[in-house]
Amino acid sequence: MLKLSTYRIGIGLLAAFAGCTSDEPTSNEPTTSASTELEIHDTSSGVAGSLGETTFTSSMVNGDVLEITVKVNCMMVTALVDYKTGVMEFDGFALDTGENTQMTDEDRAALTELEQALAPLGEDLPFTLEKLRGFVATYAEHPSTVDLQTIRITEENRSWTSICYAKNSYYPASHDCDVDGWWVDRTTLDNVYLSSTGNLGGPDGVAWYFPWGGGFKCCSGSLWCSGYTCNIPYAGWWSGVEVNHDVNVEHAYGNCFGVCGAGCPGSYQYTVDCLNHDSCVRNGHVLASGYCDDQYTSSLDDWASAPNCGA
């Protein structure tokens, strides 16, 4: 198992530290510069560290309870996971006032950066560090329209379902949205190939199998995800585009389709809820789309307990 004393990776650029309160600095500590290296150290009950101005802790407290805190862009997000009772409490608030706030594009970018720094640490990690990585990967996709303060009740095959067994095979995925409900042709992909294949380019890094040459429904992948007809020269696998609920496209793969959270490589936790969330934001919607909020909320607990299926 990887033993951490002080773990540093990355380049050694320094950035000016910016406080998160509007008051005069109240800390007795001198103003310091925040390194952009990933720094992790052991604590008495877990790990703590930083990447740039983002700081984090992950600890086992009170026996069976995991507590994670991440401070990013003057916001703190927290997670409490009681593994004995299956209860999870999430919160997020502005650090200057303690009031409610919501995730922004900047926050997601910073969390994605942290996730990318944590991803290469490998698979033999202390429990608290492994869970921190899964939490950060999940929160890097947290929509602005989902409350940061929420409760989840978690139990295997009740609120999360691992599909490690389906790795390197085809598996169906669906979502509900303004186009239609669950498991109808327009919202369902019959065959998502679950693999650790990386980003293949285009809006979502996904490749699609088009069964013939011609026009298919696509969307731009930007905030509006404007619909248009993408012209496919001939049948085969094509990347670079985002399919938009086209009933003639049933095969997709790429960018760790089905793995929980942002980043590829990432947590390698393949679950039903994470797959369905991916199928929503990659098939006619975007990460910020409110139509994928329920799929995201369903996947919110998966990082804490779903097994790592491996690359």
Binding site: G86, S169, Y171, G221, W224
Partner: protein, 165 residues
Amino acid sequence: MRRLAGIVAAALLIVVGVLWWTRGGDRSTATRAATSTAVSVSKAPAPARPPTLASANGTDPAEEPRPQPVPVDPATAPSLDAPVSKPAPPQKPFDRAETIAKREADLKLLDDTRTRLEKELASAQAAGDATAVHDLQIRITRTSELRKQRSGELDKLRAGGELPK
């Protein structure tokens, strides 16, 4: 009609842009409004195109980018004949009794958390760690408020209220 749609689209963009610019360092502003705007942006039908204006070279003005397909090497793509896995059974939702039991456990979790945070606060105050003191005070306040809220939700569940999704 197209002109009105174009004006509405432009106004929406301005509102989104202002809210994006003003969110700045004050995260405590009523950002639900911004959230609602973001939702309405993504849920709204694709805006009708504004009247096209002739550009200097006579072509249409810049539109939303339209990604173009790129062929994937078939040798690197999965075979269409690859195995198909059987879907997992549907997840069984929690019933009322289970939900109430979990919510009771949640209240204890919050109580234990508040007790722990108060101990950490005492340590931080003794150490003179102003940042930790500030953060912990916020967390204790929010945990206390959340505890009250959760207690109310549990009462409603016990009284037959709707099960949360």
